[in-house]
Structures are given as structure tokens and as C-alpha cells.
């Protein structure tokens, strides 16, 4: 089966745009993290598509590295969200505004 590179790029661009919209519209830190994950995986799809196009394994290695890093980021993000949740009951990043200017 031969999937053209254009198809890979279309899917990854769609994921990237979805993630960007999510980052801009969502206010809950959990959903923000989810949207960032979408954007990271958009990069992964593109990497794997190009890896097939060039018949070069480096792109797939890169995608694996990205997955590990994304997991690490989510762990930190969830940890921070839980710590914040302990100090307040309502989760909304717009209320995290004790500093302004």
C-alpha cells in the first residue's frame, strides 16, 4: 500500500490546527494539555510520513523520542494541575492571574 505524502501532511496539518484551536479556546489546564498533545502528535504524523517518503528510519526514531518527551511533559502538567487543584476548587486558567501587567 502506498499512501502519498500529501495525505500524511493533510492529516498532520489538520491535527495541528485542531490543537491550536484547542489551545486558544479551552481554559481548563487538562484540556490545554490534551490540545498540546494533539499538536505534538501532528508533528509525529508528519515525521513518520516523511520517514517513509525518504525511506530513512531517522524520522521514526525522532517520533519515538517525541512520544517519550510528550509523556514527560504531561506527567509534569498533571502534577502541577493536581497541586493547584489542592489550593482551589475551580480549574480555570483565567483565574490564575494574581500577576498582571
Amino acid at each position: 500500500m502506498n499512501v502519498p505524502i500529501g495525505a500524511y501532511l493533510a492529516v498532520s496539518l489538520g491535527l495541528l490546527v485542531l490543537g491550536l484551536i484547542g489551545v486558544m479556546r479551552r481554559r481548563n489546564p487538562l484540556l490545554l494539555l490534551l490540545s498540546v498533545e494533539l499538536m505534538l502528535n501532528a508533528g509525529n504524523v508528519a515525521l513518520i510520513g516523511f520517514s517513509r517518503q525518504w525511506d530513512d528510519p531517522a524520522g521514526q526514531v525522532f517520533a519515538l523520542v517525541v512520544m517519550v518527551v510528550a509523556a514527560a511533559e504531561v506527567v509534569i502538567g498533571l502534577g502541577l494541575t493536581v497541586s493547584i487543584f489542592r489550593t482551589r476548587t475551580n480549574l480555570d486558567v483565567d483565574e490564575l492571574s494574581s500577576m498582571r501587567g
Binding site: 498540546v36 508533528g43 525522532f62 523520542v65 518527551v69 514527560a72 497541586s83 493547584i84 490564575l96 498582571r100
Partner: protein, 482 residues
């Protein structure tokens, strides 16, 4: 293949792991300083190795790492910054009980910064940037009981991971255009293919990478997180973000643009130039408004990122040389300034506000002198190192036919004099406020040492500018000629 070339990274990683292990081992009271000592000794040992290794490029792990004059010189910037941060937090009341984690995370972030500037491959570059970012997300939020520290951490995490996602997409497109992740491979590929310069995929890749590194270097318009994160994070961590992260991000800019994609510099020179202009203007105007010194330094670090970006935008080795010299000066000045802010914070409640500095120069003349030298240096007064660095950066812009960058830079520097001198005037013109100085504490020797060393470095960089510039020129040449 020469795995020994990466010895600096092994030592740093070993020190990181050791410090983190100490975090879970119950230490007897007499040994409570052990994590800090592990950190200091690890950093000093690594710095010694980095000095001895100075020389032509050595390659480790099949080209994944390049240990050359460029990466080693930037390591000389990153490691003293990390050492200063550990000294800042020496005996810091807020970090009590979490000293080992603090030191371990600082070492991990420093390792990530070194990995970034040593990388010879997009994958290593990405891992380096992420290692430093993830460690700093946690460092920002390390005072878990303080709401502002947590707020700073989550804000940095969210904006930082958006930057990461954009960086990955940019790297993916660059890989798609060139079919290789190796930086040397990218250069070779761009040199062989005609008509590559107008490839829309390549231009998209460049734009995305510039945006993502702009997030990390806090360039306008990707700077909105900087003032909040800098103000909310513990001050030693802020100092680290302002120095080490900036050095690593500028190193990544130089590796990817002045180094790897030099062939298509027509595609990115105007783009990065525009970013530098907006950053200088918005950063300096933003700093004018601030009443909090920590926040003012955050805006000033945005403005300084603009000056530094001039060195990337010109795309020449002269620009890279000026940038590296200015990085040394900038890091020395920023560390000294934050040392004084930390001193004041230990003395009085809300010691980071402008009001807290009223009469500070008269109350503690040596600290006042250090802060004055530092702020004059940041404003670019001759003959200090900050002036020489700016002069070289603007000069490289004129030589590269981008005089508009030099003009905006010079005007922005004039504006910056207002807010830097405001602190100096507040420190010296008024008598110390009796109520504020009532709670005099003993000056922590480690913080004072960093302040004095920073001020001495600003003067030394100006006196021995020529030998220093020779080193920077060697480093800049190593970017393009392996």
C-alpha cells in the same frame, strides 16, 4: 566515533543522578549541605574538562554531538550560571527540605542546555531543549505551598509545550525537505539542490522553527508568559531562566540558522530581523511601565533578547561573534542584578519592588555599587562590556547591509537608560527608609560572592575584550567550518 569527547555530559549527568538520589536518602543533619556540594563540585569539574577540551571539533555518537569551540564556549557561559543559581539558593529558607531536588533539577537543566549547544542533529537538539524546559517547569513550581510559584510553573509549562509542539512540526518539515536529521546533512543537502530557497515547505519550516525558538528565548510576540513566570518563580530560578535558557536558545538559533541553513539565509534574515526589531521595541517600552524590579528585569531580558537576535539576523560569523561576546556580558550582568534582588528579598518583605530599593545604595554601599555597575552595563554605557557587545552587534548589522537593525537598536538602548537609571537614582538619591532597614540580616556570603564576581566579570570583559573576542571569533567560525 569518540565517546570520550562527551565527557562533560557524563560528569554532569552523574552529578544530576547523584543529587536526585540524595533527595530520597535521609541525610544526617551534619550532611544537609551535601547536595549543594555535589552540585558545585560537579559543575566545577565539568567546567575544568570543558576548558581542557578547547580545540578542534570532536564528534561523539556518530555525529549526534559536536564538541567544538562553539559548544565549549557556550558551556563556559552555561556552567557559571548554573553554579551561581546553586550559590543563590545556598541556605535559602524557601527551598529548605527540597535542596536535593532543587540542585538535581538545576543540574538537569544545565545538562540540557549543554546538550542543546553541543548537538549535531535535530533529534539531540530537541532532546536538549526539552531536558532544560521540563526541568525548569518543575523548578518554577518548586515552592509548592506558594500559589504564585505554582501559577508561574503551569503558565511556563503550557506556553513552553506549545513552543515545543511548534518546534517539532518545524523540525518535521525541515526533515521532509532535506531527508536528514543531521545538521551537517541539512547544510550539505541545501547546498546541492538548486531552487531550494523558494520551496514553500522550507519556508514554512523556517517560520515554525523561528516561532518556537522565539518562545524559548522570550522574543516578542511570543513573550507574554515571561513577566508572569519570572515574577512568580523563585528568584534564583528566574535568574537561571534569564541566563542559561537565553544562552541555550541563542545557541540553538546560531546552530540552526547561521550554521545549518546558511545557504538559504535570504529566506530568514528579514524574518529574524523583524523579530529582533519588535522584541527590542516592545521589551523596552514594557520595562518602562514596571514598578517591580524582578518584573522590570523580566522585560529587560525580553529587550536584551532583541539585541541578541541582531547577531542571528545578520547571518554572518561577525554577527555570531558579537552575539557570543554579548551573551557573556549579558549573563554576568543579569546574574549580578539578580544577586542584589535576592539580597534585598532576604532583608525585607516584598524586597523585589522598586520602593524596597529606596536608599539601598546608602545603606549597603558595596551592593549599591555592584547594582549600579550592572544596570549601567545593561543600559550599554561605555566603557563597560555591555557597550562593547552592543557596539559590535550594531556594527555587524551595518556591515551586513541591515543598518535599520542598528538604528532601532540604538534608539531602544536610549529608551532603556530611563528605566535602568530609575533604579540607580532610587538607590542613591534618598536616605534609607528607617522602617525598611530595621530588619537587617547578615548578608549571605554565597550571594554576595556572585554579585561581586558578576560585577568584576563585567569590568574584566571590557578590559580584556580583545582576547575574549578572539575566543568568540574562533567559536563563531566553528559554526560554519567544522
Amino acid at each position: 566515533m569518540n565517546a570520550g569527547a562527551a565527557l562533560t555530559l557524563y560528569v554532569m549527568s552523574a552529578a544530576t543522578v547523584l543529587a536526585l538520589v540524595l533527595a530520597v536518602v535521609p541525610l544526617p543533619a551534619a550532611w544537609r549541605r551535601l547536595p549543594e556540594w555535589v552540585g558545585c563540585i560537579g559543575i566545577v569539574a565539568t567546567l575544568a574538562i570543558a576548558v581542557v577540551q578547547w580545540g578542534d571539533r570532536q564528534v561523539a555518537f556518530a555525529g549526534e554531538l559536536h564538541i567544538d569551540r562553539f559548544s565549549l564556549l557556550l558551556t563556559w557561559i552555561i556552567l557559571p550560571a548554573a553554579l551561581a543559581v546553586i550559590l543563590f539558593s545556598w541556605g535559602e529558607p524557601a527551598a529548605a527540605g527540597r535542596r536535593a531536588e532543587f540542585v538535581g533539577l538545576v543540574l538537569a537543566a544545565a545538562t540540557g542546555m549543554m546538550l542543546t549547544v553541543m548537538s549535531g542533529d535535530l533529534i539531540t537538539l530537541f532532546i536538549g531543549i526539552e531536558l532544560l524546559s521540563v526541568a525548569l517547569y518543575v523548578l518554577c513550581a518548586i515552592e509548592v505551598a506558594r500559589a504564585r510559584s505554582l501559577e508561574s510553573g503551569i503558565k511556563y509549562l503550557i506556553t513552553g509545550s506549545i513552543g515545543t509542539a511548534i518546534l517539532i512540526y518545524g523540525f518535521a518539515l525541515l526533515y521532509g525537505v532535506t531527508g536528514t536529521t543531521s545538521l551537517d546533512g541539512v547544510t550539505a543537502r541545501l547546498a546541492t539542490i538548486d531552487g531550494m530557497a523558494s520551496d514553500p515547505l522550507l519556508i514554512a519550516a523556517i517560520v515554525l522553527i523561528v516561532v518556537a525558538l522565539g518562545f524559548k528565548a522570550s522574543a516578542v510576540p511570543f513573550h507574554m508568559w515571561t513577566p508572569d513566570v519570572y515574577q512568580g518563580a523563585p528568584t534564583p530560578v528566574t535568574a537561571f531562566m534569564g541566563t542559561g535558557t537565553k544562552a541555550a536558545a541563542m545557541g540553538a538559533f546560531l546552530l540552526l540558522f547561521t550554521g545549518a541553513t546558511q545557504q538559504v539565509s535570504g529566506d530568514w534574515r528579514a524574518l529574524i530581523g523583524a523579530l529582533a526589531v519588535v522584541t527590542m521595541v516592545v521589551g523596552n517600552v514594557g520595562a518602562l511601565m514596571q514598578q517591580n524590579v524582578k518584573r522590570m528585569l523580566a522585560w529587560s531580558s525580553i529587550a536584551q533578547a532583541g539585541y541578541l537576535l541582531i547577531g542571528v539576523a545578520v547571518g554572518t560569523t561577525a554577527g555570531a561573534e558579537a552575539l557570543i561576546y554579548y551573551l557573556f556580558a549579558y549573563v554576568a550582568m543579569t546574574l549580578a542584578a539578580f544577586a542584589i534582588v535576592i539580597l534585598r528579598e532576604r532583608e525585607v518583605e516584598s524586597g523585589d519592588t522598586l520602593g524596597a530599593f529606596t536608599g539601598f545604595g546608602r545603606a549597603r554601599p558595596w551592593a549599591g555599587v555592584v547594582m549600579t555597575i550592572t544596570l549601567l552595563g545593561l543600559a550599554g554605557f561605555p566603557p563597560l562590556a555591555g557597550f562593547i557587545g552592543k557596539f559590535l552587534l550594531f556594527g555587524s548589522a551595518v556591515d551586513a547591509g541591515m543598518s535599520w537593525l542598528a538604528i532601532v537598536g540604538a534608539l531602544a538602548s536610549v529608551v532603556s537608560v530611563v528605566y535602568y537609571l530609575r533604579v540607580v537614582i532610587v538607590m542613591w538619591s534618598q536616605a534609607p527608609d528607617g522602617q525598611r532597614t530595621a530588619r537587617r540580616v547578615r548578608v549571605p556570603a554565597s550571594v554576595a560572592a556572585v554579585a561581586v564576581a558578576g560585577a568584576a566579570a563585567i569590568i574584566a570583559l571590557a578590559i580584556w575584550a580583545q582576547p575574549m573576542l578572539d575566543l568568540c571569533a574562533d567559536a563563531a567560525r566553528a559554526l560554519t567550518i567544522p
